[in-house]
C-alpha cells in the first residue's frame, strides 16, 4: 500500500452495461432507443459553429432549461439539467440527503442508488419489494432521511400508480422524495403533475431513452424553485460548466419535436407488446412492462445460461447476478427486426 492511500475514498463502483466494440451485434443490454434522435438534431449538428468551441458554454444552460420548461409547462426556475440523469440524481443525493436517518429505496431497483449512498457516506435502508416485485408503500411511511425509487422500476419494468406516489410524498413532507422517471415515457404516469402541490417532490427524467440522446448525456429534474435552487447551489460548487455546447444546442432540438417523440415511443410500445407475446409463447413469464425493456424469466432454462448463449451469438441482453433477480433477463426493446432475431434465436435454443 502506498503511503497516500490511507486517505483514499473506498468505493465499489457501479458497473455499467457492456458497450461491445464489435459491429453487427444486436444490442439489447443498456436500454438505448433503436431509433435516431429527432431529425432536427441532425440538421442542427451541421450548423454548429466550431469556432465557438473556444468559448465557455452558458453555465446556466439557459436555452436547454427554457426548452424543457416550455415543453412541460413549468417555470424556468423549476428545471435543473445535468450530464445524464445519473449526474442529476448524484447531485440530488449530495444536496438533499444529509440526514443521519437512512435514505430509503427498494431492494430491487436501480443499482446505482446504493453506490451513490456509499460514495457520499449516506446511511440507507432497502425495504424489500413484495413477492411480486411490487412496492410496499407502508415501508416508506417510516422514519427516514429521504426517499428515491424509479417509476417504472428498473430492472423490473413495473409501474406504480400516482395515488401511491402521492401518498408517499404526502407522508414524507419533511424529506425530499425523488421519483426517477427514466422510463416513464413508455407507458407509466408521470408524477410531474404533483410537483405544484408538493414542495418536497423532485421528478427526474432523461434524454437517454425516449429521446434517443444517450450519447449526448442530458438529464433533468423538475421541482419547486427552492429545490432547484438548492441543487444549483451544489452544482455551482462542483463544476460551473457541466453541459457542453453541443449538448445545449442539440438538446433543445431533441425536445422540441413532439410528433417524432410520440411516434417513436408508440413504435417501441408496439414492439414491446409483440415481444412479450412471443416470449410468453416460448415459456417465459414477465411483468407487465411500462418501460422500453422487459424483465423475463424462463420456466425451465436458467437466465444465466440463456444470457451466455445469446452473448455468444452476438445478442447482448443484461443479466444481474444479484439476490432475487438472478434468474431474470432484462431485455431492451429494439427494432422489430432485432426482436425477431432474438425470438428466432431463443426459439431454436429452447427447443433443443
Amino acid at each position: 500500500m502506498k503511503a497516500w492511500e490511507k486517505n483514499v475514498r473506498r468505493v465499489v463502483p457501479y458497473t455499467p452495461g457492456e458497450q461491445p466494440k464489435q459491429k453487427n451485434v444486436v444490442k439489447l443490454n443498456t436500454n438505448e432507443n433503436p431509433y435516431p434522435p429527432a431529425p432536427a438534431v441532425a440538421k442542427k449538428l451541421q450548423e454548429i459553429v466550431y469556432d465557438d468551441f473556444r468559448k465557455y458554454p452558458d453555465p446556466n444552460a439557459s436555452v436547454l432549461v427554457d426548452a424543457i420548461a416550455t415543453y412541460y409547462g413549468v417555470g424556468k426556475d423549476q428545471v435543473f439539467v445535468g450530464v445524464g440523469s445519473d449526474d442529476v440524481i448524484s447531485m440530488a443525493f449530495l444536496t438533499f440527503f444529509n440526514s443521519e436517518k437512512p435514505v430509503l429505496f427498494p431492494d430491487i431497483s436501480y443499482s446505482f442508488y446504493s453506490v451513490w449512498a456509499d460514495v457520499y457516506k449516506i446511511p440507507y435502508k432497502q425495504p424489500a419489494l413484495d413477492a411480486n416485485f411490487q412496492l410496499v408503500k407502508e415501508d416508506y411511511m417510516k422514519e427516514n432521511g429521504g426517499i428515491i425509487f424509479p417509476n417504472p422500476n428498473a430492472p423490473t419494468s413495473i409501474a406504480v400508480g400516482l395515488d401511491v406516489i402521492e401518498e408517499i410524498v404526502k407522508a414524507n413532507s419533511d424529506v425530499v422524495v425523488i421519483v426517477d422517471e427514466a422510463y416513464v415515457d413508455f407507458g407509466a404516469k408521470s408524477a410531474l403533475e404533483l410537483v405544484e402541490k408538493y414542495d418536497n417532490l423532485l421528478v427526474v427524467q432523461t434524454f437517454s431513452k425516449s429521446r434517443s440522446m444517450a450519447g449526448m448525456r442530458i438529464g433533468f429534474a423538475i421541482g419547486q424553485p427552492e429545490l432547484i435552487k438548492a441543487m444549483n447551489d451544489v452544482k455551482f460548487s462542483i463544476n460551473s460548466y457541466t453541459m457542453n455546447r453541443p449538448s445545449l444546442e442539440l438538446g433543445v432540438l431533441a425536445i422540441e419535436d413532439d410528433a417524432y417523440f410520440k411516434e417513436t415511443c408508440k413504435k417501441i410500445v408496439a414492439t414491446r407488446e409483440w415481444t412479450m407475446k412471443e416470449l410468453t409463447r416460448l415459456g417465459f413469464t414477465m411483468f407487465d412492462s411500462k418501460a422500453n425493456f422487459v424483465f423475463a424469466t424462463h420456466a425451465t432454462v436458467p437466465a444465466k445460461e440463456i444470457f451466455e448463449a445469446l452473448r455468444e451469438n452476438g445478442i447482448f441482453v443484461r443479466y444481474f447476478n444479484a439476490p432475487r433477480i438472478d434468474n431474470y433477463l432484462r431485455i431492451t426493446i429494439g427494432t422489430d427486426e432485432e426482436m425477431r432475431t432474438l425470438v428466432n434465436f431463443l426459439e431454436k435454443k429452447l427447443s433443443l
Copy 2:
C-alpha cells in the same frame, strides 16, 4: 423554511466569470483562447454520425485517453479524463482528500479550491503567499491532508520552478500533491516529468485554454496508475458516462495537431509581451506572466474603477473583490486587435 431544508447541504457556490449575452464585446474575462480549435476539429464535426447519439458513449473514454497518453508519452492507465479540469479536480478532492488534517493551498489561488473543500466537508488551511505573491515552500512542509496549487498561479500569473515543486512533492509522500496546470502551456515548466518518479503527484491540465476547447468541457489528470485507478473508481461511483460523444470524437483531434497548438500558444505569448509593455507604459505594474492573462494594478487609478469603466464600454476583464487582490485586474490575452482596443481605451481613460 421548508421542512425538508434541514437536510440540505449548505454551500456558497463558486461564481464563474460573466458570460455576456450581447455580441461585439471584447471578452477578456474568462481566459478563453482567442483562436479557434485545431482545423481538424471543424472537419471532424462535419463527420459526426448523428444516429450514434442514441447509443451511450464509451464510459472509459478510451479514444481520448489514448490520444492524451500518446501525446504525453505515458501509459493509458495513467490518464483520467473529465468534464473540464473543474470536474477532474473536484473528483480528485473527493478521492484523495479524506484526512482529518487540513488540505493546503495558497490564500491567493484558484478560488474554487475552498468551494470544493466546503462542499465535501474537507478541512483546509490557506498559507499566505509572500508580499510579492510568491509561494512559500516551507508552508507546505507542515502536517497536512493533501496539497494543491496552480502553476502558473491564478489569478497572479506567476510560475513556480520545478525544483520547488519537487521539494514539496518529495516532502509529502504520505499525501497526494496536485499541481493544477490549467495555464502551463503559455510558458511555465510542467511537472509531468516528475510523475514517473513520485507516486503521490497528480498533474491536472485542460483543453479549455491552450487547446481552445472551453466549450467542449475536457480536462485530464496524469499520474501513476494507482492514483488514476482510485479516481476512476470514484468517477464510476458517480456517473459512468461523463464525456459525451462529440467531446470524445472532437477532443482527439484537438490534441493531435501539435503544430497548430504550438503556433497559437506562441502567438498568445507574443501578444502578452506586447500587452505588458503597453500596460507598463500606461502606469500599470504586473507580475511576470507565464499564463494567457496578466494580473495588473495601476499606480493611481483603483482597479474597480477601471473594471467598471471597461465594462461600460463593452470590454470585459475580471475583478476579484477579495483581500490583498482587490486593486488588481486579471486581463485575458486576446487577439492583437482586442488588446489594442483595450490599450487604446485605457490610454484615453487614464489621461483624463
